[in-house]
């Protein structure tokens, strides 16, 4: 839907509240992703840990909700019984508020919905709940509005891509950038199947 059509439909009340919210969240999340693609500086030097010395500490209620959102999508050391790192440990919250990502301006659209669901189920804001309760809230929100899944996906990126820190890659056992695997154990070094062709091409 083009923005002109959108505003025309808003003006003529053809869009209901759910469609309106869906459109706004989808558009704003994708704008944020484009901002990420265009602007974020996230390269790490091969072999060098760039674990930030400190991550942003949440102060306001909104910041605490964002922290809780990240720590629910990919629970960190404090929430994971195994003590393994998660989104907040690789400073994902910082990236949620990083001006280059621009996602912070979209959060006011999403956080009220999340906290409304948290209050409906448990009578508290998201950040006041335990992990199981937070997970239940975010799953309910995802059922109501599938597009928040894109925000959850955004939260996973810094951890699995290694944008600010190698902690996620180290946890996963991915060496990341390297100098190659020549003469190392990368192949089974034997035929693994019968083949249909003589040279790799079908006739």
């Amino acid at each position: 839907m083009g923005i002109e059509t959108f505003f025309n439909q808003v003006a003529s009340k053809e869009l209901d509240r759910r469609e309106f919210f869906t459109w706004v969240v989808r558009a704003s999340v994708m704008v944020s992703l484009f901002g990420l693609i265009d602007q974020i500086s996230c390269g790490f030097v091969p072999g060098a840990s760039q674990q930030p010395s400190t991550c942003m500490q949440p102060m306001t209620a909104d910041e605490k909700t964002v922290y809780a959102l990240c720590d629910t999508v990919l629970p960190g050391m404090a929430s994971d019984p195994t003590g393994a790192p998660g989104a907040v440990d690789v400073c994902t919250v910082d990236l949620m508020y990083d001006k280059f990502y621009g996602i912070a301006q979209d959060l006011p659209l999403v956080l009220p919905l999340i906290n409304a669901e948290a209050h409906k189920e448990y009578g508290k804001d998201l950040y006041e709940l335990d992990l199981a309760q937070r997970t239940a809230v975010l799953k309910n929100v995802e059922k109501m509005l599938g597009l928040v899944g894109q925000i959850y996906m955004f939260v996973k990126g810094p951890f699995y891509i290694g944008i600010l820190s190698r902690a996620g890659l180290d946890y996963m056992g991915d060496p990341g950038a390297n100098l190659g695997y020549v003469n190392q154990d990368f192949s089974f070094y034997r035929p693994m199947s019968k083949e249909m062709t003589s040279d790799g091409n079908l006739p």
Binding site: G43, L74, G162, D174, P175, F186
Partner: protein
């Protein structure tokens, strides 16, 4: 600065650099305009850093934000950022009839016709079949799964010499062992006198007395005009139609088919979680393509499948077990449990009617790629044998998007397609835009349909064929 050429070519990927060399060898004065910059081994980085990648790729989404598309935006185009799998299209591909009953490939193009051009491309780019020693464990394990089910899996063909298996082919090969166009066609074209201007974005094409005028913005944002007796558009399946649509006021007889028939080569991505008890496949090791390709489903289902190695970044997309969530504590622990030992990500490819559309939205190219009934039927049909394969191996078929499968993002085709019927094809069988003699299209946008396999070799062979036609007739 020279402003008059025998041929002006927009784009330096397979569709652009190949005609550039062939026309220069025929004594023509050739200019290539490339929007991207020059990147060499010393400039490439072994990282999936999106800021870095955005320097060498165009990344865009469908207009409903559901599908991402990426294409090369660097001197050498897609050859610099592709995974390096270069198989020929099977013969049956060229007989594909869409649901309108239209045979999409022109009669002038067949596997037999293309074979001599495939030969040229393979010789130029040192393409050969991988040995089993060069197949990564991911590829070997995928082949083993096929074998366990009584099915075949072949070693693929690729353009590598002494590969280090580092896993960053699509970020640009820092070792220079992937034989991209930067290793063959482009330097030979430069030696033959072709002028490459980088950082130059073509804006409009206008007919002129000598042929066509191409206006472009250079690195300093100034608008420059050049003349070409022949103009070849080779900016890819999104940006070639963009240029033509933006020039429509000067090309009023342009076919209304420009931008239509967009398809993604039937690309559908899925994952396999291997059962316990198998050796670790260390799935981050090897080229981005695992160097295997199965044709076992080609004759019954019209699809091929390639397996790929996987960095941990794969979990940033929505890969997960069916019925389970793609986030949360359980997801995090599951991801750790399958990585890097038990996860295979693979890509299905096959002919399907192209129903997508590239159009201009406020002068910016936009892509409509809805999940149509055709695509949904295709998805359901081609997933069925994969479900059987995983079941036969006690493996788990993983989903890659919500409750379904992610359409793959790299192989865009069909938006300025060649064909026999002017009603359905903006270009004639030799890539010449109808009603505009001397204006050609020679890239992935000219291929009318899925190639059945990774399309780069067929794009290249078709560009060789079109170059032959231009040299002979212009």
């Amino acid at each position: 600065m020279t402003t008059s050429f025998d041929a002006v070519i927009v784009g330096s990927g397979f569709g652009g650099s190949i005609p550039a060399l062939r026309l220069a060898q025929a004594g023509k004065k050739v200019l290539v305009l490339e929007q991207g910059r020059v990147y060499t081994e010393t400039d490439f980085k072994q990282t999936w850093d999106l800021k870095y990648l955005s320097n060498i790729m165009n990344i865009t989404t469908s207009d409903d934000y559901a599908v991402f598309f990426r294409s090369g935006m660097v001197l050498g185009g897609g050859s610099v950022v592709f995974s390096g799998l270069m198989n020929r299209s099977p013969s049956e591909t060229f007989q594909f009839v869409d649901y309108n009953g239209y045979k999409v490939w022109p009669d002038a193009v067949s596997r037999q016709v293309l074979d001599p051009y495939y030969d040229r491309v393979e010789q130029m780019m040192s393409v050969r079949q991988a040995t089993w020693e060069e197949v990564s464990k991911t590829g070997g394990m995928f082949a083993q799964l096929m074998n366990n089910a009584g099915l075949t899996c072949d070693r693929a063909r690729f353009p590598y010499i002494n590969c280090r298996e580092c896993g960053f082919c699509e970020a640009g090969c820092i070792y220079g062992v992937k034989q991209s166009l930067m290793k063959n066609y482009i330097p030979q074209a430069q030696d033959a006198g072709v002028e490459f201007r980088t950082g130059c974005r073509a804006m409009q094409i206008m007919p002129s007395a000598a042929g066509y005028t191409v206006q472009y913005t250079g690195p300093d944002d100034t608008l420059t005009s050049v003349q070409g007796t022949v103009v070849i558009i080779a900016a890819g399946a999104i940006y070639s139609p963009e240029l033509l649509l933006r020039s429509k006021q000067y090309l009023p007889s342009l076919s209304d088919q420009v931008g239509k028939n967009f398809n993604n080569n039937g690309g559908l991505r899925f994952g396999i979680e291997l059962p316990d008890g198998l050796p670790s496949i260390e799935c981050y090791k090897g080229r981005d393509s695992a160097a295997v390709m199965t044709y076992a489903y080609w004759h019954d289902y019209g699809i091929t499948i390639e397996a790929g190695t996987s960095p941990a970044a794969i979990f940033a997309i929505d890969i997960h077990r069916p019925g389970e969530s793609g986030w949360g504590l359980d997801f995090k622990h599951w991801a750790k449990s399958v990585y890097p030992s038990k996860l295979i990500v693979a890509n299905i490819m096959g002919p399907v009617t192209g129903e997508g559309l590239v159009y201009l939205n406020n002068d910016i190219p936009a892509v409509s790629f809805p999940l149509t009934k055709t695509l949904a039927d295709y998805r359901d049909r081609v997933i069925a044998p994969i479900q059987a394969l995983t079941k036969a191996n006690n493996a788990i078929l993983l989903q890659t998007m919500g409750t379904g499968y992610m359409y793959s993002i790299d192989h865009m085709l069909g938006t300025c397609r060649i064909g026999d019927d002017p009603r359905y094809s903006p270009a004639d069988p030799y890539g010449q835009i109808r009603n505009y003699p001397g204006l050609f299209v020679s890239d992935s946008s000219s291929l009318p349909c899925s190639t059945g396999v990774n399309p780069s070799t067929t794009v290249a062979a078709n560009a060789e064929r079109i170059a032959d036609y231009i040299v002979t007739n212009w």
